[in-house]
Amino acid sequence: MNASLLAWIPGLPLAAVLVNLLLGDRLGKKGTAWLACGAVVAAFALALRAVLQLAALPEHERHLSEVAWTWMRVGTFSVDVAFLLDPLSAVMVLVVTGVGSLIHIYATGYMSHDPSFRRFFLYLNLFMFAMLTLVLADNYLLLFVGWEGVGLCSYLLIGFWYERPSAAEAGKKAFIVNRIGDFGFMLGAFMLVTATGSLQFDRVFSAAPHVFTAAGVTLATLLMFLGATGKSAQIPLFTWLPDAMEGPTPVSALIHAATMVTAGVYMLARSHVLFELAPATMQVVAVIGAATALMAATIGLAQNDIKRVLAYSTVSQLGYMFMACGVGAFGAGIFHVMTHAFFKALLFLGAGSVIHAMSDEQYMRRMGGLSSRLPFTHGTMAVATLAIAGVPFLAGFFSKDEILHAAWASGHKGIWLAGIVGACLTAFYMTRLYVLTFRGPSRLSHEAEHHLHESPPSMIVPLVVLAVLSVVGGYVGMPFQQGGNAFETWLHPVLSAGGHAAHHEVSRGVEWLLILLSVGVALLGIVLSLRSYLWNPATATALQTRFAGLHRLLVNKYWVDEVYDAVLVRPFVGISEWMWRFWDAKVVDGLVNGVGTTLEGGSAILKLFQNGYVGTYALFITLGVIALFLHFLR
């Protein structure tokens, strides 16, 4: 049972990238498509085989690790390119490769008539390589490589249609915000190295409890959390995700829904040992998660661009995941990651096929009544909307409920309440989206009407598969199974290593009560949304006029972007302008040139003494003699 295949999981997409680069145009569209999707599907197969191998192993030594080559060895510190497969990374690998391959297939259809088809798949494969490295990394540095690699690919893919300046701008913004996050992550990593002497996961986690001081571990975890917020678009550094919608929809689906954004959660889960050592950080994570969830959900209410709504919904769902990690339920967090990957990918791809059908029209106000024209898209989107809303017996319900349960159980009542309100809002804006696009009168423009056509099978099949998954996916983590839900037990060996958060049991009755409450809230949201948008559209406009101020606030996304721009970007550019114009040119250069001019001045003065009058020369000679005398006198 050689484990050497682990390296090939990220290796395959990389190989595809290289082949794509070298062969170039000779492959043609068909060739590139087959090459790209083939590589990812093969990676999925390999991953599946490896996970099965892993499952076969007894519970407590369930991890396969493999060292490719030593990357850096300087003095005592050494780090090597090594891959680790354990239950946690298994889940992530499966999700990434699975959803990834589906999206690749979908993308072949979606991007079929795009001129730089080859370049798109090049970036996509590169992204897969980076994500797989991140997930399978066995130390923080390799994780960081994947981390930045993913950032790069998102930059490339967002700015794919580079002719559009807004796309390029969004790409740059994404990369820089990520980079700020990476800055935090790097500093955190340094603290780990200085304390534990290595970046290897197991060595760090084993050394951590007795090496770290309380303040030290808190600071380290906080810094790493800063990295996570950057990558997973949480409160301080979330502004890049909505702008990231500039990229093609498959990109949004893959990167900004399923995989990249969840990297932060994965990193938190991976280093849960450290976080458990720092309760203060856990508190911060939870609060930020809740706050992001609420804030994103509220903004989602007022957005009219279909992809923007989905983007904010992703931010909100990520908030939930961080809330889970914050309260110590890393398992629930990861479970929500998985389920969210399924239905959010589905939603994005559905939106993608809608936009594809409407020949690149993203504005919901100009849609409506598409249910009959785009049956498959409508069907799958409906399932996804219900799933995300938290309707029982669908994936969303189980994972969200798990998080709420954990929140309640860990005693963070406030966090739980935010979660409930968020769930209601989520249901509301998802249904609003569904209604505005599919139900209600058709507000299509004439020629859009004319071109309307259902997506080709290559796009529909992934939609259907995802729909199935977002229904079935939930049962894996169903509560009340005999040994706790299956998902928890699967992750148990990895997540139980550290000291468990204060998790006092909740009586079964209270548990049922919580479930009922969350379902109720979800249904309430759906009903309210249907009433105000489908049955009685007037109420929507009435609501808007009554809460005009609030509405405007939401439409403008709390002006967060503008604030950042005013507070950070503009002064920074101003300072640098000043530094250059004034400091560099005037002061430093001035000094240098000044030396020259002063010398010139000095020589001009001395020149006066050489004026040709013999008398003055004689006078100087005499003065010289007198000076000599004086010298001798002393």
């Binding site: 004026n611 040709g612 009058y613 013999v614 008398g615 004689a618 006078l619 005499t622």
Partner: protein, 100 residues
């Protein structure tokens, strides 16, 4: 006998008068004469010390000084004459440009 200090004092006085003459006067010839005065002051000092030390070297040196002075005057006057021919003036502070 004439005490040495007086002689040296006299020589110093004459020398100073020579120097002042050079500094003060504008006429090249008078400056030249002052230079001669300075030379003779030096000669006086030479002779005074020669006499004091009872050795002839001082006197012989005065002899050499005289020859040099003679040569100097000759050339100096030639230059002044030539200068006068060019500039129509003998005043030193009017001759301070290299042009011409």
């Amino acid at each position: 006998m004439i005490p040495l200090n007086w002689l040296v004092a006299l020589s110093a006085i004459v020398f100073t008068i020579g120097v002042v003459g050079v500094l003060v006067r504008r006429n090249a010839l008078v400056i030249f004469m002052s230079v001669e005065l300075m030379l003779n002051a030096a000669n006086l000092a030479f002779v005074a010390f020669a006499n004091h030390m009872k050795s002839l070297d001082g006197q012989i040196f005065v002899f050499f000084v005289m020859t040099v002075a003679a040569a100097e005057v000759a050339i100096g006057l030639a230059i002044i004459v030539h200068l006068f021919r060019l500039r129509e003036t003998v005043f030193v502070d009017e001759i301070h440009l290299l042009k011409g």
